[in-house]
């Protein structure tokens, strides 16, 4: 190699190495300061507190009820959005129709809109004077300031996760195999179960994990539509917020730790699934 004898290139390489070091260190420190340090801060705070008190506040009826509400919302949202998310993804990749770009953009909208605005829109629509609210109040079903409203808000917020994960997979996979199966006489359901589902399996798992994580953590939209009624429409994040603003730090920290443990499980699971997805 002629180039390596060139002293100019040698020093150039050395200074490049030096720049690389600086870049790596910089990124590492930025990440450490921004993400890891706050994380360790709350861990230290919680573990320096009185264990007995932390446990007592976690097992109080208000705390348990709030976690119960979160679990109910989470399960309902996971089921509904998995079904409709898959359907939406399938429709957007296998059918062409007018306004497809608009529908695809609308599918992204929940990511971009402020959760408070989402909650506000739902109050307007499902509130006692809203279009849908009037229909439901005719059947004596209360949506806003009740559990159904909280589920709808979380559905809105988590709508894109499953669909957005599956769409690129379906697009890449193409429809040849499905068409072949159809020609050979497979029913639509057989076709979906035997060909489509195995393809999108890991994407679906990934989207579902994100959906669950977000429905546990959603705060703004749920706060606006729920009215935050103690022991009634208070989810875990609302409980933490209440405890914190009431200066009951032990309650806030101990419940936060439960959610943090869940988040760590979630991100590890995400890593596992993305490895499966990659091959």
């Amino acid at each position: 190699m002629k180039k390596q004898n060139n002293p100019d290139a040698q020093t150039g390489k050395k200074s490049l190495r030096f720049m690389e070091r600086i870049l790596i260190t910089g990124v590492f420190l930025w990440f450490l300061g921004l993400i890891v340090v706050p994380f360790c801060g709350i861990l230290k705070q919680t573990f320096s507190k009185n264990w007995h008190q932390a446990f007592a506040s976690l097992t109080s009826s208000t705390a348990l009820h709030s976690f119960g509400i979160t679990i109910i919302i989470c399960i309902a949202v996971a089921i509904i959005n998995t079904i409709f998310g898959t359907m939406l993804a399938y429709m957007l990749t296998r059918q062409t129709f007018r306004g497809q770009l608009i529908i695809e953009s609308l599918l992204d909208l929940p990511f971009a809109v402020s959760p408070v605005v989402i909650g506000f829109m739902l109050i307007i629509l499902f509130g006692p004077n809203g279009w849908m609210g009037r229909i439901f109040s005719f059947f004596n079903i209360k949506i806003i300031y009740a559990l159904p409203g909280m589920i709808i808000a979380t559905l809105f917020v988590t709508l894109p996760f499953v669909a957005k994960e599956i769409i690129p997979i379906l697009r890449q996979f193409g429809s040849e195999q499905e068409e072949a199966a159809q020609v050979l006489g497979a029913s639509a359901w057989q076709n979906f179960r035997k060909i489509t589902l195995p393809t999108i399996k890991w994407g679906l798992g990934y989207g579902l994990t994100l959906t669950i994580a977000r429905s546990i953590g959603e705060f703004g939209a749920v706060l606006v539509v729920s009215g935050n009624i103690l022991n009634k429409t208070q989810s875990a994040t609302l409980y933490i917020h209440d405890q914190f603003t009431d200066l009951n730090y032990i309650g806030a920290y101990s419940a936060s730790i439960i959610l943090i443990i869940l988040s760590i499980l979630v991100i590890n699971f995400i890593q596992f699934i993305s490895k499966q997805k990659a091959g």
Binding site: L23, F28, F84, Y90, G217, I267
Partner: protein, 272 residues
Amino acid sequence: MIVAKDGRLILRCLSLSYIGILVILPIFALISIVFKNNQAAIWAHITHPHAIYSLKITFFYALCIAIINCITGTATAWVLVRYDFPLKKTMNTLIDLPFAIPTVVTGIMLVTLYGPQSIIGHFFARNGFHIIYNQPGIMLALLFVTFPFVVRAVQPVIIEMEKEMEEAAEALGASPWTIFLKIILPTLSPAILTGTALSFSRALGEFGSIVIVAGNIPMKTQVASVYIYGEVESGNIPGALGISLVLLLLSFSIILLLNIIQKWKRKYEEAK
């Protein structure tokens, strides 16, 4: 064949009505209420100094965050893909942490670390610099919450990128700066743009962490989403309408723009 066609139609109707009820109808409800109300009153609410100020700082900080994330996110993705260093795997896993942690918990974490009772917060406060319940708090919360967007958008593109081009350019005597500007940046720019736009729109709408870290002080730390929340809570629907519509329109245009870029990119790739 008729059965298959019916199936497709049912699928389309079901999916469209789901997205229709969940997403489109609430938007129309919001717009219709704007038209039903006295528009002059709504306009007066939008131009109220508190509302204007909240929009201003929301934009300002969202823009700052977008620019910072654009640089740090790309650098992080680059370092994660191209270099080896200790704890790299752990770091790669922890990148997603801000997505997984509830925003309320993020807020509490930041208050615990930088609040007046903590060592760091105490140190800064002694020098007359308050982080929590002040604008630097907004910045910290937004940086935490939007951190993964650019990293996760750019990372797969760097993985796919072929090193040969860079090596060829290097062999032909291009400086690292030229290589970065002429080869790396053009390849990465759509992904960087996507990630930056996503973090910008997220920063515009962020609520949970900001309401805890920065509080709700008009003309100081009240960002747009906190302002809307205050108006909704006090039952002032017209006051919340205008700002909500502004945020909604903005998010929708960002998303539409991103989708057009994606579609254009897909066409370009198919043509290739």
